[in-house]
Amino acid sequence: MSGDLRNNFKRLSEEDELEPRDEKEIQGTISFISSISKVIELYLPGFFQLMISISGGGNDKSPKPGTPNNNSGLAKRDNEHSPSEPPK
C-alpha cells in the first residue's frame, strides 16, 4: 500500500470517467432523451388505458364528456331496461 494521503477511490472514478464529449454528441443524446420521454409521457398513459379497457377493467359507469347522464330521469325513460335485464 502506498503512502499517498489521497482517497484512491476518487482517483478510480476519475480514471473511469468518460472523456468529455463534443457538444454535437451531447446535443444528439439530449434530443434523443427528450424525444423518447415525450413519447413516454404522451402515449404510455393512453396505452395503459387501452390495455385496461381491452382486459375489461375499465370503469364503464363513469359518464363520458358530452353524453347524457344515465342516472338522469330522461335517460331512465329512454332506456328503461338495461341490456342485461330480462324484459317484463
Binding site: M1, S2, G3, D4, L5, R6, N7, N8, F9, K10, R11, L12, S13, E14, E15, D16, E17, L18, P20, R21, I26, Q27, T29, I30, S31, F32, I33, S34, I36, S37, I40, E41
Partner: protein, 189 residues
C-alpha cells in the same frame, strides 16, 4: 445567460431554471456535469462498456422524466447516484441472475470480523484497488463506492438500498473486510 455565468450555477439553480423554462440547454448542463460520473459508476458495477453506455442513457432518461419530483432534500448528486446504483444493482439481479450480490449473502456470516481501518483501503494504489474492486461482489463494490467515492452518509446509503442503517453498517464492514482479504490474496508479496 453566458457560458461562464451558467457554469457558476449550482445544480439546484439549474434544475429550477429548467423546470421554469423547460429549455433543454439546462438539462444539457446537468448531463455534461454528471454523465461522466454516472458512466464511471456503471462501468465499475456492470463491467461492460457498451452496457454502461446504454445504462447511462437510460439513467438520464429516468432523471429527465423525474426531475420535477426531485425534492432537494438531498444533494442532486446523491439523487443522481442513487438512481445509478439502483439501476445497476437491479440490472445485475435481473439480467445476470445474481441474487447474492453481497459477500454476506454468499459467505458464512457467523464468525466475528476484525475492523478494517479506512486508510487501509483508501491508500491502496489505484491499479491494485481497481483489481480488488473487480473481484469483490457487486453489492460490496456498490457500498464501498457510495461511502468512499461519493461520500454518502449511512442514512443516504440506507435509503438507496432500502435497508436499515444498522444493516448498512454491517454491509460496509463486511465489504471492507472482503476488499482487504481479496487484496491480500491478490498481492501476497
Amino acid at each position: 445567460m453566458g457560458k461562464q455565468g451558467a457554469n457558476k450555477l449550482t445544480d439546484e439553480e439549474v434544475i429550477g431554471f429548467y423546470l421554469k423554462s423547460r429549455s433543454s440547454s439546462y438539462f444539457t448542463m446537468l448531463y455534461s456535469r454528471y454523465s461522466g460520473k454516472v458512466y464511471s459508476k456503471c462501468i465499475s458495477l456492470l463491467k461492460d462498456e457498451q452496457l454502461s453506455d446504454d445504462a447511462t442513457q437510460d439513467i438520464f432518461l429516468k432523471i429527465y422524466l423525474n426531475l420535477a419530483k426531485f425534492s432537494g432534500k438531498s444533494k442532486f448528486s446523491t439523487w443522481v447516484y442513487s438512481i445509478t446504483y439502483n439501476y445497476c444493482i437491479d440490472y445485475i439481479r435481473r439480467k445476470k441472475k445474481e441474487k447474492n450480490i453481497f459477500s454476506e449473502d454468499i459467505e458464512n456470516v457467523g464468525e466475528p470480523l476484525e475492523d478494517v481501518h479506512d486508510h487501509e483501503l483508501l491508500e491502496i494504489e489505484v491499479g491494485r484497488l481497481k483489481k480488488v474492486m473487480n473481484v469483490i461482489p457487486p453489492g460490496d463494490r456498490a457500498v464501498l463506492l457510495m461511502k468512499y467515492q461519493d461520500d454518502m452518509s449511512i442514512r443516504d446509503i440506507s435509503e438507496v438500498l432500502q435497508k436499515s442503517e444498522s444493516a448498512i453498517k454491517m454491509k460496509i464492514k463486511r465489504a471492507k473486510h472482503k476488499a482487504k482479504s481479496s487484496y491480500k490474496e491478490l498481492y501476497k508479496d
